[in-house]
Amino acid sequence: MVVTTSWYLALAAVLFSMGAVGLLTRRNPLIMIMCVELMLNAVNLTFVSLGTELGDLGGQLSVFFVLVVAASEVVVGLAVVVAIMRRRQGATVDDLSVLRG
């Protein structure tokens, strides 16, 4: 059996969908950020697979920048979670409906 690019793309699609389902079902903000990480990893896998398929370094370069943006996103997201949790211990994302206008 030869591993083709389609295998990687299918795996990335499944991983992305699982992350999306987790984002829709979980209420803990920390786990929701983890699900976003899952989706970003699926996209990274797609970038690398298509870059390998095309013999192009651009896919791996994109993954590099995605990594940086993901790290920044986690840092700011966790800071927001810390700021909210400090005021309301054990808050879920449902409780944040108080932020509506």
Partner: protein, 208 residues
């Protein structure tokens, strides 16, 4: 050989993702996330993206997940949550439906509708062999993409400053956010799930 490595890694990746979805404790979810990240890293090695595999382990598993665990422990939210309750009725079936349709659309878009990727081969920079991977990435990043690298440096600086500003302890009457949150929750008893206005001195500016 490649197929065996791929199948084992894919099983690890999907098991970790499923664990993140159903873990009752945030700590367990973070550890399942590490499992998924390691599996993806193995897949990167399998595709000769050795530098990204190392970065994946160091930055994601080493830094990001540690940050998650640090925040979990700092906040003391490392307790089990009850997944049996479903606060919004019908949310999970709808989410499963959306996920399944998303998966279907992605599979169609990625596998069926196009006959392979249609981009120009090696348009930006040629992909070398695995031993040459890091050098080629570095050369491309610091020649063709140096402006983007500088922008990400600025982004990281902004993120660090933003995190410090957001997460620092605010004292005295210059704290606008606690006043808003506390007054809103005290007016709306349905939205609250516990005492909120007795935290450590954040409501000092409430009377002013």
């Amino acid at each position: 050989m490649d197929a065996a490595v791929f199948l084992i890694s894919a099983a690890i990746v999907l098991a970790g993702a499923g664990g993140v979805l159903v873990a009752r404790s945030p700590v367990h979810a973070a550890l399942f996330l590490v499992q998924t990240l390691f599996g993806v890293s193995v897949l990167f090695v399998l595709q000769d993206a050795t530098f990204l595999a190392a970065i994946q382990v160091i930055v994601y598993a080493g830094a990001v997940v540690i940050l998650f665990l640090f925040v979990i422990m700092l906040l003391g939210v490392d307790r089990f949550e009850d997944l049996g309750v479903e606060p919004i009725v019908g949310q999970r079936p709808v989410a499963a439906l959306i996920g399944a349709s998303l998966l279907g659309m992605l599979l169609i878009a990625l596998l069926v509708s196009v006959d392979g990727p249609t981009g120009a081969h090696g348009a930006n920079a040629a992909l070398g062999d695995a031993a040459d991977n890091t050098r080629r990435l570095g050369e491309a990043l610091f020649t063709d993409y140096v402006f983007a690298v500088e922008l990400t440096a600025i982004l990281l600086t902004i993120a660090v400053i933003g995190a410090v500003v957001l997460a620092r302890k605010v004292r005295g009457p210059l704290a606008p956010l606690p006043v808003v949150v506390a007054s809103t929750t005290s007016e709306d008893p349905e939205a609250g799930d516990g005492p909120t206005d007795t935290t450590d001195g954040h409501d000092a500016g409430e009377d002013t």
